[in-house]
């Protein structure tokens, strides 16, 4: 339980803090998802759809890559 299952990490916690300590509920209401989904995204337990990812970036007024980062498996070579 609680193990990260995604290669996508995010800075939502820091962005919320920098935007007047926005709560998960406030962000969820602005994005149109449940508070539990914001929690799951923050904890890397759920990778949102592109649309929700863009909506989150729009709420913070930053480009998508400032919210999410993709870390592929480091393969040989």
């Amino acid at each position: 339980m609680g193990k990260s299952v995604s290669h996508i990490s995010n800075n939502i916690r820091a962005l919320r803090f920098n935007h007047g300590e926005m709560t998960q509920l406030e962000l969820a209401e602005k994005v149109g998802v449940t508070r539990q989904t914001v929690y799951a995204i923050e904890k890397n337990k759920y990778s949102p759809s592109l649309e929700v990812a863009f909506r989150i970036a729009t709420v913070f007024g930053v480009p998508l890559e400032e919210v999410f980062e993709y870390k592929p498996d480091s393969g040989p070579g």
Binding site: M1, S4, T34, R35, Q36, Y39, A40, K45, Y46
Partner: protein, 139 residues
Amino acid sequence: MNTSFKENYQWVNLIGVAAIYGYYFAKILPPAGRDVTAEQIVLFASLLVLLVVIHIIGAIVLIALARFKDPDPDERDRLVGLKARRSASWVLALGTAAGMAAAWFTEGNFWVMHTLLASMVLAQLAESATQVFYYRRGF
């Protein structure tokens, strides 16, 4: 608390269904005859009513305890629901095959009826357990 009403309600469903149908199957097995009896039907109907009551009470308690009102299901809820229904459909398909085997190999209607009933119960348990699993572990 980061569990939603939807997740908590699945726990109520899991525990309620397991307890009620567990009791039913414990009472009727081994079978007294080859066919379903009137007493078994009455017992089943009574337990079904009890299960509905448990669900209603569980929902009322969960709503009373909830700090936030759950909004409509979002994309994550819908995905979890789809994964859960896929698990349930596999169990139901296997149960149906078992019911057909029971129809072929046993006399009377007891085993056919109860194999099909068990497969519906197990499918319901699989659906709830899958939802709880994905809500907690993530995907």
